[in-house]
């Protein structure tokens, strides 16, 4: 419930006589659209003809298709903690965990499915991951012929990692840069200072 004291009452601005008629605004708008019309008629429209033409641009903080990172030994980095599945507002992550076959790890995912059609690409999974295993890449051209095809399994997500290894997705530093993650430049120094204090 919102408290009454939190409600801000705003007076509507008074309209002038000409504004009240709306006619100038209408003509203004008409002018804008006709200008664009002729510009596009004579010149080239702004849009490009995808997929024949693709713009050369790197959208670093674009949140596109997920990838599942590998650790130094090439194994899936995920520890099957279900944090991403828990954080996911669209319920599109399905994980099945099991005891890992490796000596240095407790748990690993036997299944890791993301329904890319359900996903809303909010990046919460990325934020929730305690081991930075799941990341959203800038990959945006995601197509498939069936719904089933758009449910990416572990192998597919790892394959995306293999393809996009060199890209370091830029996460929003304002979100991920909380002390302790060390993601942010200078974060570790701050940590040290804190200790000394």
């Amino acid at each position: 419930m919102i408290d009454d004291k939190d409600i801000l009452l705003i007076e509507e601005p008074k309209l002038t006589a000409s504004e009240r008629l709306f006619l100038p605004q209408i003509f203004d708008g008409m002018g804008t659209t006709i200008r664009h019309f002729f510009k596009s008629l004579v010149g080239t429209p702004m849009t490009v003809q995808y997929p024949e033409v693709q713009r050369e641009q790197r959208l670093e903080n674009y949140r596109g298709v997920h990838r599942l990172n590998r650790d130094e030994q090439g194994r899936v980095a995920c520890v099957a903690c279900f944090m991403c599945a828990t954080a996911c507002p669209a319920n599109c992550i399905h994980i099945e965990g099991a005891e890992s076959p490796w000596p240095d790890r407790e748990k690993y995912p036997t299944r890791f499915d993301i329904d890319e059609l359900r996903c809303i690409y909010c990046g919460m999974c990325e934020e929730a991951c305690p081991v930075d295993a799941i990341e959203l890449t800038p990959g945006h051209d995601l197509v498939g012929r069936s719904r089933e095809e758009m449910v990416f399994d572990k192998e597919e997500l790892l394959a995306i990692y293999d393809k996009t290894k060199d890209i370091k997705p830029r996460k929003n530093p304002r979100i991920t840069g909380y002390p302790g993650t060390g993601n942010r430049p200078g974060a570790q120094d701050e940590q040290k200072e804190k200790h000394q204090r």
Binding site: I7, L9, G29, T33, S40, T47
Partner: protein
């Protein structure tokens, strides 16, 4: 046999068949242009995959409409459901009968009207037939047995009713001035000149009536900003929610046919129909086949212009809320057109109805008064009611009225 083809009847029949075919094509291409124009306005390409510049897109669309599965939902009133698009479609096309396309054509020594029919009550015919169009919409919405569709139909009925009044009065102004209901005569009466060079088109006499007629025509055609009938965001398509395939195509085509006829009507009533000033071939006296062809081109050009403006408006202005739409009709347009009607009658009484200055001055006066009142009006201009908080809004007892009047 040749006798027939040169007779008025033969020309009428030929014209009817020809016009129907051309019109169907024209309507299809209207859709094409609509898409193209919207694309250009929005800096896009528009359809460009089927043929050069996508000019075969209407063919593809038409093919799709025809060959799509014809679904009739189980819950509809089947006969009415089928009837509705037919009515709309039919009405959209038969209005053309009374449009004068090219004045007179001397064919085989006789002067033949290039018009399917030239009844004495041409205007009444158009008005009458056109208002049947709304039956299609209402029937469709009723038959769909779906509350969104029904809302659409109700809105359509209320809107048609409201906007036919200012439209009719506007036409009445012209009729009083011209003294005839025959469209051909109205056209011919506009072919003179004032001061030797200003064509005596009604637009110069009654510019206000012209604008209002154009606005009401937009509303009658359910074009933006008056397309509350099929408002996708609120009504999921309104009356045609349940329609698909060819039946939807018929609604679709009828809308554009309606646009063409309405444009033609405005052209005839206010822009002198096939008349184009100063070019001899388009004057009343020119009756050769070439002149007729030219006249047809002239009126088509005028129609095209109006259609373009309609599309232009559609891709510029947002939709009215239903109460705003109603207010515009009843509180704005009807008083103004009534004033114009009084003006026309007074001018008629003094016998100066066909002069240039008196009507124009009268128009300006009416406009001035109208603007004065409009600017002084204290009505709310936003959707919010007075006293409603702008943020939050959890307070009890206050509701926001939705678009439906009442």
């Amino acid at each position: 046999m040749a006798e027939f083809f040169t007779s008025q009847l033969g020309v009428s029949v030929g014209l009817a068949v020809f016009a129907l075919l051309v019109l169907l094509g024209a309507v299809s291409y209207c859709i094409y242009f609509e898409r193209k124009i919207s694309a250009f306005v929005q800096d896009r390409y528009g359809p460009n995959r089927v043929g050069p510049f996508g000019i075969f897109q209407p063919v593809a669309d038409g093919g799709k409409f025809v060959f799509k599965e014809d679904v009739i939902p189980g819950h509809v009133d089947k006969p009415l459901f089928l009837l509705a698009p037919c009515i709309t479609f039919l009405v959209g096309f038969i209005v053309f009968a009374a449009i004068p396309w090219g004045g007179q054509w001397s064919l085989g020594g006789r002067l033949i009207e290039v018009q399917v029919a030239n009844p004495d009550i041409g205007l009444l015919y158009i008005l009458g037939v056109a208002s049947v169009g709304v039956y299609g919409v209402i029937l469709g919405s009723w038959a769909s047995n779906n509350k969104y569709s029904f809302y659409g139909g109700m809105r359509a009925a209320a809107q048609m009713l409201s906007y036919e009044i200012p439209m009719g009065i506007c036409i009445l102004v012209v009729v009083i001035t011209m003294g005839s209901l025959r469209l051909e005569e109205i056209t011919v009466a506009q072919t003179d000149y004032w001061l030797g060079f200003i064509p005596q088109w009604n637009i110069f006499r009654y510019p206000l009536a012209f604008v209002i007629l154009f606005v009401t025509v937009l509303a009658e055609c359910n074009r933006t900003p008056f397309d509350v009938v099929e408002a996708e965001q609120e009504l999921v398509g309104g009356f045609h929610t349940e329609y698909g395939a060819l039946k939807f195509g018929m609604f679709f085509l009828a809308e554009y046919a309606h646009m063409i006829t309405s444009s033609a009507l405005i052209a005839v009533l206010f822009l002198g129909g096939w008349h184009f000033p100063w070019i001899p071939w388009t004057q009343l006296e020119a009756t050769s086949w070439f002149a007729v062809l030219l006249k047809i081109l002239v009126i088509c050009g005028k129609i095209s212009f109006f259609i373009f403006v309609m599309m232009w408006i559609r891709w510029t202005l947002p939709r009215f809320r239903f109460d705003q739409l109603m207010r515009l009709a009843w509180k704005g347009l009807i008083p103004i057109t009534l004033s114009l009607f009084v003006l026309a009658v007074v001018l008629l009484y003094f016998g100066v109805e066909r002069s240039f200055w008196y009507p124009l001055i009268g128009n300006v006066l009416v406009l001035a008064v109208a603007l004065f009142f409009a600017a002084r009006s204290r009505r709310e201009v936003t959707g919010r009611q007075r006293g409603m908080p702008a943020v939050g809004g959890g307070s009890a007892g206050r509701t926001v009225s939705m678009g439906i009047p009442g």
